[in-house]
């Protein structure tokens, strides 16, 4: 059975099982929307270079429950670091039992419980805000199956001094799986948090992740968000990170793609209050047949906001890359400062990148800039290193490492930076620099 058929088959089963209420009505509307738009094809302008059709026609299991992995598997994906909370999604299902979050700075609930709790107003206010920007079927499809997602509230005035780590593990030992993690984070006034999402897999069958995470950041709060994809080539991913800057606040987001199959990352930064500041960084370093597509939206709604965006790519083998950066400056958003840059290095003749900045400016007193480059390693720099006795391979590695370093240094949690740095060095085949 194709994924498209499985989705129809499973929807009623899940919907009946999961009950009504807030999530029920969201599911219903979303499913209707999904049925109208379906899984996007390359005829859809936003999906011109990223093809999902062959995945949609493949057989994937879709389950509302997951089999728990062994402790050994869990340990193998853990970052070696202290944490404020450790939250596990196994095959797209938030598993409370193996997660740990004993911390009085936060509330952690399965999304369906949160919908019945004292926090349900936050769900009314922030859940599914991303659908206003993501009009395609993938976003609706996630919402149509939202039942046992994750709700996290960082309480007012609390500074969470260690990172919250979300591990996404897809287990494809037996079957191809289609998984749909869903999370809502609310960061209350004056709170500060570092959030890490790390994607790992286990097994040789294929996985297809369709994730939505929404993060609402309130007045004077600070968010650092890191999305790190380190799955294997049999794992495909469509994910949306929707950051809503509700009050004047600061956000810092870094997306790192180390490996995978067909990958589409959407990141939206909605600057809803005056004087907001947001930073978006990205690094993709891919090889083989990996396809990585980063779509970003920076929406300046109110005046005096600042945003900076820098994405860098290293493309090897037959890999393909897409960068699409939208910046909206609405009519009221005077004195906006918005910067965007995308730089790519092609390491083989068969790798390619499509990069497209897209600025829509409706205010007249703004500063916006964008730029993109696609090229090879600088021959002059390479020669300089070789003229000092460093062989060609190592010289290339040094230069690529340097190219990646200004994104890597934006990864503030040390353990995560070390993890990514090690992966980069392994890829470049260098021991230590």
């Amino acid at each position: 059975m194709s994924l498209v058929e499985t989705i129809q088959d499973k929807y009623n089963e899940l919907n009946t099982f999961a009950g009504n209420g807030l999530l029920g009505s969201m599911r219903e509307k979303a499913f209707e929307k999904y049925n109208k738009s379906g899984i996007p094809t390359s005829r859809h302008e936003e999906w011109k270079y990223t093809r999902l059709t062959s995945l949609a026609n493949k057989n994937f299991e879709l389950n509302a429950t997951a089999i728990l992995p062994s402790d050994e598997v869990l340990n193998s994906i853990r970052l070696q670091t202290e944490y404020a909370a450790e939250l596990f999604f196994i095959n797209g299902v938030f598993i409370k039992e193996i997660s740990s979050f004993q911390n009085d700075a936060m509330v952690v609930l399965p999304l369906n419980e949160a919908a019945e709790s004292e926090h349900k107003n936050y769900l009314h206010q922030h859940l599914n805000q991303s659908s206003k920007y993501m009009k395609d079927g993938m976003n609706a499809l996630n919402a149509a199956f939202t039942a046992n997602g994750l709700f996290v509230l960082i309480k007012k005035d609390k500074v969470v001094d260690k990172p919250i780590i979300i591990y996404h593990l897809t287990d494809t030992t037996d079957d191809n799986v289609f998984v749909q993690p869903r999370s809502l984070f609310v960061i209350e006034e004056n709170a500060q948090v570092q959030l890490i999402e790390l994607y790992k897999n286990n097994g040789l069958q294929e996985s297809f992740t369709n994730e939505v995470i929404e993060i609402a950041v309130h007045e004077n709060a600070k968010l650092e968000y890191y999305k790190v994809q380190d799955e294997t080539e049999n794992c495909h991913h469509v994910g949306t990170t929707h950051v809503q800057q509700v009050g004047k606040c600061f956000t810092h987001c870094v997306t790192v793609t180390l490996n995978g199959g067909t990958i589409r990352n959407n990141i939206n930064m909605i600057l809803e209050a005056p004087n907001n500041e947001g930073h978006l960084y990205g690094l993709y370093m891919v090889d083989g047949k990996t396809h990585v597509d980063n779509h970003s939206i920076v929406d300046n709604v109110m005046p005096n906001c600042f945003s900076n965006e820098l994405y860098k790519g290293i493309m090897e083998g037959n890999s393909t890359g897409v960068f699409n950066g939208k910046i909206y400056v609405r009519q009221d958003a005077q004195k906006t400062n918005a910067y965007q840059s995308n730089k790519n290095v092609l390491m083989s003749d068969t790798a390619s990148v499509n990069t497209k900045p897209q600025l829509e400016i409706y205010a007249d007193d703004v500063k916006c800039s964008h730029g993109c480059t696609v090229g090879r390693l600088d021959n002059e720099a390479l020669f300089y290193l070789r003229a000092r006795g460093i062989d060609e391979k190592q010289a290339k590695a040094l230069l690529l490492n340097a190219f990646a370093s200004d994104i890597l240094e934006q990864v503030k949690p040390e353990a995560l930076r070390t993890y990514i740095g090690k992966k980069i060095n392994e890829r470049l085949n260098i021991d230590e620099l």
Binding site: A381, R388, Q394, A404, S405, D406
Partner: protein, 252 residues
């Protein structure tokens, strides 16, 4: 040590070197002078192995082995050093790590153990004094944001660290004020030994007041048209390159 015979080289079908003959022995300092476009920097590039240039004829032996057969890194490890006319800025590559890698690659080639961190730092401290280069520069990215003088001093510092047999200084004096020039020259003079050699490429006689050459060659239209002692440089300074051009014209 270096023996260049009838060397011809071109870039994109444009002939630049038209038959260079040059013999450099251990312990010698040679200077190559010549007007703009005479092929000075091309010669340096061809010797260091820059692949933009095609050697169309001739041979270069370095300590008895065919230099032109070697990759740039092999030449460097064999002890050939080029101080760049325009050192490249490489953001993100730390100067110290770069030099450490370079030193240890060369040591490996010579069958020596790599220097550990302590020994490397000790050597570095010692050689830093030689070119009066500051620690803060070395902890920055390679040449990034360095002034012209700092870049040139960094070149000589690398030379001091790598201890080459033959150092080619490609217009190291250009863009240096008199103090920086003196520092650079002092560094080169201190490193001078009976078993190594220096090839200076320069426009001006000025540098030769500080680093005194044993031989001066004049390069013109891709050939060495005149050779002599250090007094030739003074003559050039006085009379300009025109008299050389005239002499060449008369020969034809």
């Amino acid at each position: 040590m270096l023996s260049i015979q009838n060397l011809h080289a071109s870039i994109e079908d444009k002939k630049i070197l038209n038959g260079i003959d040059l013999q450099i022995n251990a312990g010698e300092v040679h200077a190559i002078m010549g007007p703009n476009g005479s092929g000075k920097s091309t010669l340096a590039s061809v010797l260091a192995g820059r692949n933009d240039y095609e050697v169309t004829y001739g041979s270069v032996e370095f300590d008895g082995v065919d230099l032109l057969e070697m990759s740039p890194e092999e030449r460097a490890r064999e002890g050939l050093f080029l101080a760049f006319q325009y050192p490249i800025e490489i953001p993100g590559v730390s100067t110290t790590n770069f030099i450490k890698t370079a030193v240890n690659e060369t040591r490996k080639h010579r069958g020596l153990e790599p220097l550990d961190a302590v020994a490397f730092l000790k050597l570095m401290k010692e050689r830093m004094k030689l070119v009066k280069i500051d620690q803060s520069l070395l902890s920055r990215s390679l040449n990034e944001g360095f002034s012209g003088g700092e870049k040139k001093r960094n070149e000589i510092f690398q030379m001091a660290m790598l201890e080459p047999k033959l150092a080619i200084l490609d217009e190291t004096d250009s863009g240096l004020d008199i103090d920086a020039l003196r520092i650079v020259a002092d560094g080169v003079n201190t490193l001078k030994r009976a078993d190594n050699a220096v090839l200076l490429i320069t426009h001006y006689q000025r540098l030769l007041d500080y680093i005194v050459p044993d031989f001066v060659h004049v390069l013109y239209n891709g050939r060495i048209v005149k050779s002599g002692g250090k007094e030739l440089a003074l003559e050039l300074e006085e009379r300009g390159y025109d008299f050389i051009k005239q002499e060449v014209a008369e020969e034809v």
